[in-house]
Amino acid sequence: MKRKLKVLTAKPGLDGHDRGIKIVNRVFVESGMEVVYIGNSTPEEIIKASIDEDADIIGLSILSSSYKILIPEFLDLVEKNGLKNRMLLLGGIILPRDKKNYLERGFAGVYGPGTNIKKVVEFIHSKFNIKESDE
């Protein structure tokens, strides 16, 4: 049997709004992925957990504008730790210019409120060449 895709999800910083990430976690699990959710964490903790868990995908959720500091810091650490081969996903309230910047710097997807999560799953499947029948 093929190894399941492993996703590490986290909320960088102190922002406690976790309604969104919890739904995403559940949809990912139901789509056949393995999810490790570590909740509120610093960028360093997220990087460490991603390495420890050998995650294929790192998914971050943040609804505070602290993302402007925390996400660039996270991206620096991704480069420093050679994690650019992992798929990076970001969800939350991200201004358009920052979204553009983060997509250029290595995020595969940046999603705002109102995102259809099934489409995110389809996107992941297409990137990892997974067909529905493989599940």
């Binding site: 102190l14 976790d18 309604r19 559940r26 909740g39 504008s65 602290s66 309230i93 201004l95």
Partner: protein
Amino acid sequence: MTDEKKEKIKSRKKKKRDSIAKLKQQMIDYINNIKTYEDWDKFVQMFMLRFPERKKKFFTDSGIEIKRLYIPDDIKDIDYNRDIGYPSVPPFVRGVYPTMHRGRFWTQRLICGTGTPEDTNERLKFLIDQGQTGLNIIYDLPSHRGIDPDDPRAKGEIGKDGVNCCCLEDMRAIFKDIDYKKYSVSQITAIHVLCMYIAMAELDGVDISELRGTVQSDMFNAIQGCGALASDVTRRGKGAIDYSVEICVDIIEFCSKYMPKWYPISIVGRNIREAGADAVSEIALAFSNGLAFVEKAMARGLDINEFGERLSFMFCCENDFFEEIAKFRAARRVWYRLMKEKGATNPLAMLVRMHVQNSSIAYTAQQPLNNIIRGTLHTTAAVLGGAQSLHTNAYDEAWGLPTEKAAMIALRTQQIIAEESGIMNTIDPLAGSYYIETLTNELAERIYNMVKEMQEKGGSVELTENGWIANLLEENAYKYQQEIESGERVIVGVNKYVLEDEELDIEIHEIPEEVAEHQIARVQRVRKERDPEKWKAAIEELKRVCDAKEKDPKVNIMRALIDAYKAGATLGECYKTMWSDYRFL
């Protein structure tokens, strides 16, 4: 065409016309003779053969099936005095005050908290100038979590989701040149900010018994509404939530004695709703949490007939217009019943005085100006439901803290409803509506039963610790998302009437990073400039009191905390002293 053929066609047409006319006459005769629901229903069934309804079944947001029509029969069992009552008279369905909004409008208070205390001070003055009648201050995440701005955990967060405030000097800057004793001041946080506020007032020579306002302090809403916070608390081990309830009771006890015009707690359903509850579970969870405070306060020997008068509530207002109105009405009836069961006899101690903040979940990042309309509907429902105080979210809510313009429109929404619509010129105008009264009954029953179910399962402390509440909210939130994705639940601009390649065309309020530098510099200066002897003595006293409280929950920590802030202690220092890591581990 021959004449014969023409005649034939003509006569066929006439026959058809006659038969339609006959059918129409039959219908008119039938309609004219409809006297009962059954007669009417027969007619509707025929009508629907040609014109079916939009959906097979209709439901309220919380899942109550809605009938096609409500009639006098639906409310025939209502006993007016027993089930509805006059305004300010049990069971308070029609409202908590004798004249309600005819006497005075609700308190218009927009949440305000942005950047540095100075930034917030400026925004508060702007809102006061625009006619706001109460103040409502929200603090940033480090201030909520007891973290000083120069703590590494505060990185990136300072002044972002509210104002940063970690010492007495910050509090003074927030209220600089504002005659705060004149206003009802709501503080969206807990004991620390309240103690800073009291410290400021005492040092200003203000008689604290004259202070009016509310401190949220209900930590259940933060723990249940934000799973991330839950881990913060539960990591401290069993007993931490119980200890938090005791701290809230400290506030209740202190305010009962020294600040009789202050509401020491706002029992919050609103944030739980935003985390996933529906109209029923929002109120049921809030009430179950409320009972936890009531029970602890009674165990401390406080009189329910006294502190009951100072309990206040905060609810959400979501999209389902009539259900929300009925929810507010039902809530008053149920809390009255629960307090009566706890032994309260003073009617003023059984009231639901409510602040309402409309839903943020309902607001969309897409086509953000549409949120002004959503805000108007929510605010109208809250007014019709009898709210005492209101915050309307600004249209840019889904993008960040409001710009001045967005905040002003939110305030104007309330002012237009208050000054122009006339909807509050009589009290509880929807009473007696077959639908509203039926919904009020149904909701009251469901809320009451759910509170009872939670009590039987161990109550709020237990159900928060064991994850029962978190599961319930997650399940609901997931269902809600599924409904949006399937299109069953329509959100304009999100899953219907979508603008392809929509560009963000509103101004966004951004918090500059200099805010953090400013706050870090201040806290470090405060630490340097304070009298070290006084500070040390105050922190030691706080520690002594907290240690004593761990052994005897009846020990009240308020005075020691107020004095610590007066002595120049910072939030982070006081928080660490209160929650030193060994406690509960």
